[in-house]
Amino acid sequence: MASKLTTSNRAGWGFALPGFGLIALFIVIPFFFAFYLSLTNQRLISPNPTEFVGLSNYENLLSIGVLTLEPERDDAGTIIRDDDGLPEYPRVRSFTRNNPDFPQYAGMQEWFRWQSGDTAKVVVATDVVFWKSLWNTVKFVLVVAPVQAGLALCLALLINQRLRGINVYRAIYFMPVVVSIVVVSLLWRFLYSPDSGLLNNMLQGLTFGIFEPRDWLGNPDTALGSIMAMSIWQAVGFHMVIWLAGLQTISPMLYEAASIEGASKWQTFRYVTWPGLRNTAVLVLIVITMQAFALFAQIDVMTNGGPLDSTTTLVFQTVERGYGKQDISGGATISVILFLLVLTISLIQRFLTRER
C-alpha cells in the first residue's frame, strides 16, 4: 500500500530530470570527453580537422629516462677535471640531438642530475615542465595535507572547551575561509614582498634586525613553501570546523568514564577522542587532498608558475596549455592524469583507514 503510494515513474523522472540533466551535461559528459580528447590533437579553434592520435599525448608527457654520463678522459685515460676538481662530462645535448645511437633520448631535455662516483646520472624527459608541475603538486599535497589536517585538529581541540567567549575565537579562526583565495593571494603577495613586505619587517623586528630580508616568492627555494604556508592559513579553519563536528559526536559519557578511570590527558585523547574521529579523519584527508591537487589560483595570482617553474602545478599547466595555448588535447591529457592521481590517493586513503 505504502509503496504503491510512492511509486511514480512519471513524477520521479520529471522531478529529477532537470537537475540530473545539468549534472550529466556539465560534469559527466566533460569527464568522459577529457579521456576522448586526450587521444586526439583537438585545438580550441583550428582550421584542420581533429585527428585521432592514440596515446602519443601521454607518451610526450610521460617519456622519461636516465642517462649515465661517463667523465671525459684524456688519451692516457685519466679523468679531465675542471678548476674545482670536478670531472667534466659530455654535454647532454650530444645524446638527445641527432644521435642515432640513442633514439630513445631524442628530443629530451635535462630535468635534474646527481653524481654517483665519477659518473653522473642525468634524468631526461621530453616534457620537463610537466614533470616539474607533477613534482610540485605532489610536494604541495604531501606537505599541506598532513600539516593542515594536524593544525586543524589542534585548533578544534582548543576550541572544543567550555570557556566564555569561545565562539568569538571560533568565528575568527574560520574567517579567512570566507575570503576568496584570489584576494588572499594578492594580499599575501604584498606581505611576502621583498622590500617593504610585512613579513620581512616583522621577522626583522622580532629578531632585532638579525634576520636578512628575502624575496620569498622570487626565490625558487622559498616560493612554493611560501604558497604552502599561505594556503594552510587560509583553509585551516574549514577543516577545524569539520573536526569540531566530529568531536561533538563523541559521547560525553566516554570522557566521564575515562576521567573516573584516572586516564591522563594524552590517554584520553589516544583511547577516547582519536578512535571516535576515525571517519572524520578519512573525510578531512580526502577533502584536503582533493583541494591541494587543485592548486591553481594562488599560483596564477602570485608567481605564474615561476621562478624557474618552481611553483608550476598540474592544474596551472592544464590551463596554460588548454586555454592559454588553445591546446585542448594537451590540457585534457594532464587533466586525465590528475584525475587518476586523485582517484588513486583517495582509494589508498580509504584502504589505509578502513574498518578493521
Binding site: G12, F15, A16, F20, I27, F31, P176, V179, T318, G322
Partner: protein
C-alpha cells in the same frame, strides 16, 4: 591552600586566553592590514609596514584610494556581474537540486538508484579536471536568443550560471536531509489526494529551512569566489566578475593603496555577512562533514 589553587586556576585560565588570542591575531592581521591600508596613500602605506602603525588607522586617512580604484576599473560593473551571477545561480540551484532530491528521497521509479549513484560518483571529480573539456563544450553549445539560433556560449552570463546550477554535493545534502523527515507526512498527504508538486511545495519545502540555508551558503561561497572558470570563458570586460576584475590591479606594484581598496570593497561585505550569519556559515560547513 584554597586560595593557592584558586590563583592557579585563574592563571591557567589566563594562559588559555592568551594562547587563543595569539592564534586569533595570526588569522586577523592580514585582513586588518588590508582594511587599514586601503585608507592610506601608497607612500605612507609602505612606510607604515615597518611598524605597528600598519594595523592602525593613523596618519593621512581618507577614501582617495576608493575613488581612484573606481576610476581605474569598472568596479561597479564587476560587482553587479558577480551579484547577478551568484544570485541567479543560488536560486536556481536551490530549486532544481531540491526538486531532484525530493524525487530521489520520496519517490520510487525505474532507474532511480542508478541516477543517484552517478550523482554521488561525481563528488570525486574535481572541477579542475573537467574545466578544459567543458571549455570546448560550451564554446560549441547552441542557444536560442533574441537573434535566433546561435552557437557558442563564451562571453555571456549564461556560461557562468548554467553549468554551476546543479552539483552532486547540493543534491546529496538535500537527499540526506529529506530522508530524515517522517515519511508518514508524505503518505498522509498522498492519501488525501495531494499531487507530488503540492507535496513538494506545501509539505516538504516549508520544513527544509536548515538545509536550504546550508546549500545556499555553500553555493554562495563557490559562486562569489569563482576565478578559474570566468577566467577562461569570459574575455569581455562587460561580463567579468569581481575576482577576475582583480587582474586590472595585478601589474600595479606601485598603487598598493588602490589594490587594498579594491580588495576591501569585494571582501568586506562578505565578511560582514559572515559575521552576522556566523552560526549558519559554520554549521553549513560542519554538515558537509558529518553526513559525508
Amino acid at each position: 591552600m584554597a586560595t593557592i589553587s584558586a590563583d592557579n586556576h585563574g592563571l591557567r585560565l589566563a594562559v588559555r586566553y592568551v594562547v587563543l588570542t595569539l592564534i586569533a591575531v595570526i588569522f586577523i592581521f592580514p585582513l586588518l592590514f588590508m582594511v587599514m591600508s586601503s585608507l592610506k596613500p601608497s607612500d605612507q602605506l609602505l612606510r607604515d609596514t615597518a611598524s605597528l602603525r600598519a594595523f592602525l588607522p593613523v596618519g593621512d586617512i581618507g577614501f582617495d584610494n576608493y575613488t581612484d580604484a573606481f576610476s581605474r576599473a569598472p568596479v561597479g560593473l564587476f560587482v553587479f556581474n558577480s551579484v547577478l551571477v551568484t544570485g541567479v545561480t543560488v536560486l536556481l540551484s536551490l530549486f532544481l537540486c531540491s526538486l531532484a532530491a525530493f524525487s530521489f528521497a520520496f519517490l520510487k521509479w525505474k532507474g532511480r538508484d542508478l541516477l543517484l549513484g552517478i550523482i554521488i560518483a561525481t563528488l570525486i571529480v574535481p572541477f579542475e579536471t573537467i574545466a578544459i573539456p567543458l571549455l570546448l563544450l560550451v564554446s560549441k553549445l547552441p542557444w536560442i536568443g533574441l537573434e535566433g539560433l546561435q552557437f557558442g556560449w563564451l562571453n555571456t552570463y549564461r556560461v557562468q550560471i548554467i553549468p554551476w546550477i546543479a552539483d552532486g554535493l547540493t543534491v546529496f545534502l538535500f537527499v540526506q536531509y529529506f530522508k530524515d523527515l517522517p515519511r508518514e507526512l508524505i503518505e498522509a498527504a498522498r492519501v488525501e489526494g495531494a499531487s507530488w508538486w503540492q507535496i513538494y511545495r506545501r509539505v516538504v519545502m516549508p520544513l527544509a529551512g536548515p538545509v536550504l540555508a546550508t546549500a545556499a551558503i555553500l553555493k554562495f561561497l563557490v559562486m562569489y569566489n569563482q576565478y578559474l572558470w570566468p577566467l577562461i570563458v569570459v574575455q569581455q570586460e562587460s561580463y567579468r566578475p569581481v575576482m577576475v576584475g582583480l587582474q586590472y590591479f595585478f601589474q600595479l606594484d606601485t598603487a598598493w593603496g588602490e589594490i587594498m581598496a579594491y580588495l576591501t570593497i569585494i571582501t568586506v561585505p562578505v565578511l560582514a555577512f559572515y559575521l552576522v550569519m556566523q552560526r549558519a556559515f559554520i554549521s553549513s560547513i560542519a554538515s558537509t562533514g558529518v553526513k559525508g
